[in-house]
Symmetry: C2
Subunit: 265 residues, 2 copies
Amino acid sequence: MPVVAPQPLPKIASGIAGFDAISKGGLPRRRTAKRALSLAASPVVNSLLAAVPRRDYERLLPELEPVALTYGEALYEPGQRVRHVYFPTDCHVSILVMAEGKAIEVGLVGREGMVGIALAMGVEHSPVRALVQGSGAALRMRGDAFLEELARCTPLQREVQRYAYAKLAQARQTAACNRFHLVEARLARWLLMTGDRVRSDQFHLTHEFLADVLGVRRVGVTNAAGDLQRRKLIGYHRGDIAILDRGGLEAAACSCYGIVRNLAS
Amino acid sequence: MPVVAPQPLPKIASGIAGFDAISKGGLPRRRTAKRALSLAASPVVNSLLAAVPRRDYERLLPELEPVALTYGEALYEPGQRVRHVYFPTDCHVSILVMAEGKAIEVGLVGREGMVGIALAMGVEHSPVRALVQGSGAALRMRGDAFLEELARCTPLQREVQRYAYAKLAQARQTAACNRFHLVEARLARWLLMTGDRVRSDQFHLTHEFLADVLGVRRVGVTNAAGDLQRRKLIGYHRGDIAILDRGGLEAAACSCYGIVRNLAS
DNA sequence: CCGCGTATGTTCGGGAACGAACAGAAAACA
DNA sequence: TGTTTTCTGTTCGTTCCCGAACATACGCGG
């Protein structure tokens, strides 16, 4: 079976590792992000939460539960009721549409966004699968608490809505991309996007997993990746992928990379 | 050139034709739709507007300008500022993503929705092209007036948000569909969806136009359509398309048809 | 250090769609 | 009426990707 099987529920972070590891990162902060509020003695590293004014944030804080998400964990399954929303702080999550046993990625969420927009838009059941793709920390919140806060806090509402629209635009671009672009270009785009999310040029991903998110055969990934490697754009070894030549990889990727990145604004 | 060239601005309806033609239709009304308010002496036939309570609606009415949209007219071009939102009452509009000279449809809007969600979500410039695909009547509203009303009217806000999420889900499903399904199945789905929008089994569309919305060559459409015709599922003649066997066509279409229809709820 | 699971590489035949080009036929127009 | 435009049908060689199957290589646990 290609995609990792669903697992029980996310475990509580066993040591909030990663939280302070990020704080030194050069994340371009949002306007309201200069507060240094203490959640485990670290600043707010999720862009959406960073939009919440200090006063509101303090009320909201006890509702935010730090969790450690691990590779392969499914946060939502299609048709399931959405009980929690997640704000990644140091991990990223794939949004997958399932069709006839196959899967394909239609969105990617990192610390710039949230998982569970459906709730914010008045929809209680997720039509998609949300799969943790890069292990790490996130903040989890109960659905009803989130909705309450959303109703109360206009800045958060604004940010969430803009983010939701970015997701829409991203999904639309992906629809076009899936139709027009070759596997190799799509692979390159996807590696770049993942690199952006993990803020590193190295990460761990098997061809099998890549085949799933791209909606192609594993062999298709092997060929495309092999070609990229021959051209010294990437290197990999048993799942350890490294971006060697970012510029070259961007040239190999389709224009959708730049378009989607700009959409996220 | 495949897609019809952009045109100036929509003209004002020269005789509000179509408005009363619809009123007898058996549209499944929304819960709040039993009011019989008079806009050109006819009830509200747009589902989103139907969510507006009577009191708010009366204030909103003068802002709604009836316009006649004609086939091929572009309501938005990519990158353009969104000045108006449109509520189709008796027409439908394609949302297209442009990529390298080619186009592909990523959404379809009829009387169940609106064109210009971007504005409602806090985004001022449309990343997509909105092309009138079935001529007919719509209600147009200035962007700022719409935003004002949105802020004031919670029921409208709710409906618009749910609709926006439906659009997101639709775009995602389309992304998967574009990747996995054959031209013939996608064509069948698309004909069914259009039939739903125009509430008829007959409409006018050339192969050339179909090729554009499906993102394939015209020849691809000719072949697929020829096959569907041979199987007596559809009939056509120089752009006049008729669905002959709806059940059969649904069988020929991919499951995305049912999925997307249910999402629209 | 052996074996087995996981990850990657390679091959083969086949099908769907592509780009390009041309032909016929119906409608629109002059 | 004849001419032009629009719409549809058909062909050809090519490319990309598919499904299936098999071969190798690494690394962990016994």
